[in-house]
Amino acid sequence: MKIKRVTLPLDTQTAQTLRAGDIVLISGEVLTCRDCAHKRIFEYLNQGIELPFSIDGAAFFYAGPCPARPGKACGSCGPTTSARMDGFAPRLYDMGLSCVIGKGEVSKEVREAIARNKRVYFAAVGGAGALCGNAVVSCECVAFPDLLSEAVYKMELKDLPAVVAADAFGGDVYAASRDTK
């Protein structure tokens, strides 16, 4: 099986070379962001408060890591269920969010936002926390430290395995299994 290499940040041109179902190894910078951090980002946006990081061009990793053991950059850190962030994702893609790494299907509204902005959504392997954690070469908290594992961490990834789950053309790796419902 052919494996493509993806380097972040991901521009729209490169995003358009990817198709749903492609297996990829992702390297580069991501920001972890899950339930509580999203809620806070939207509170900031709605109140006009400046965010401590830029959404434009950023790549989000829906994840909350385990603490790192001494000598390691990060503890176990696999993806969490993306669908919980469905209510937030379209606006963020419209603000320039370049891609998301999560797991599981996302809503039609999210897939439309991805296609409209020529972006992409990657599904990493849920349950492969140790392997994903070892793909993190550096990790630093950049916002909301009070949220502990749910804070926003800037991570440098090296070869995180994933599958292109939703592509810039509306392609969706989950379409087949959804059609059986």
Binding site: I23, G78, E105, V173
Partner: protein, 279 residues
């Protein structure tokens, strides 16, 4: 009468938690390897191979196999010929959880349901006590992740719905969960009892090793038929559309009221973690 100091329960919970979070059960690993061998979808096979590789890394480096080290579910069967000394059992269990999650570098995933403020040490554990015969204490530790817990369901069926109604509930819950609970899943089912007791039966069903069937042939028939229909959904590993959507279905049964048929479906992700010790 045998006297057991609850300090022993604390030590036991700590040991079990440290072990459980870094390794899927042997029957889970065997089922994942079998799935990888037979899976016809290359994308699902890739995901299954990744999970197998991950378990190897977790074991070698003593890292949590999944970053969701769960809410700590602890089943305690206390023989009625045991007398307990020392601090309250719940305090002992929570001390064991606190130490394991700190020393093991496990994620603390427990928070207030409204404020969402993290308790900071993964306590309190969810403890289920059962009185049994004899002079032993059996402790089972299940770190339960919530990607799958969120997809669990309770149904209050009508008596006439019977086995077919039960099978439809089980298959329906897995179908609705789709890709979200990290399939291939293990499905724990509680049949009968009351609204609350069927959910505990479903949780306890997940303790059974993958690949085993209920001793009652009519219950085993439900397990086998539900598993077949679930795998016919072709959700596949991670929802990528493959042959193996569930590793197994485990049903436990208990008498119920003449007017009802409660069914609870507790979904467990591909990372089945469960350790037991007898004191």
């Amino acid at each position: 009468m045998r006297i057991i100091d609850t300090k022993q329960i604390e030590e036991c919970v700590c040991r079990l938690a440290r072990k459980a979070c870094v390794r899927p059960t042997p029957s889970c690993m065997a089922a994942l390897k079998e799935a990888a061998r037979t899976e016809s979808s290359p994308t699902c096979a890739f995901a299954l191979e990744t999970l197998i590789k991950n378990a190897g890394i977790a074991k070698k480096e003593e890292m949590p196999v999944c970053q969701d080290t769960g809410m700590s579910v602890v089943l305690i069967d206390i023989g009625q010929d045991v007398a307990l000394s020392g601090p309250p059992v719940a305090d002992a269990v929570n001390s064991g959880v606190r130490r394991a999650y700190e020393d093991g570098c496990f994620r603390k995933s427990v928070c207030d349901p409204l404020t969402r403020v993290n308790t900071g040490d993964n306590t309190p554990a969810v403890i289920h006590y059962e009185m049994t015969e004899g002079e032993n204490i059996k402790v089972t530790f299940i770190p339960k992740g919530f990607g799958s817990e969120n997809m669990s369901r309770v149904y209050m069926l009508k008596p006439g719905d019977g086995a077919e109604g039960i099978i439809e509930c089980i298959v329906g819950a897995v179908r609705d969960a789709g890709s979200r609970p990290c399939p291939p899943v293990y499905v724990g089912v509680g049949i009968g009892g009351t609204f609350e007791s069927c959910t505990l039966l479903a949780k306890k069903a997940l303790v059974r090793p993958v690949g085993t069937n209920n001793a009652r042939s009519d219950v085993a028939a439900i397990e086998k038929e539900a598993l077949k229909r679930i795998n016919d959904l072709h959700i596949g590993c991670q929802g990528f559309g493959g042959d193996v959507t569930a590793l197994g279905v485990a049903c436990e049964i208990s008498p119920t009221h003449i007017a009802g048929l409660p069914v609870a479906v507790n979904i467990q992700c591909n990372c089945i973690r469960c350790e037991t010790e007898v004191l």
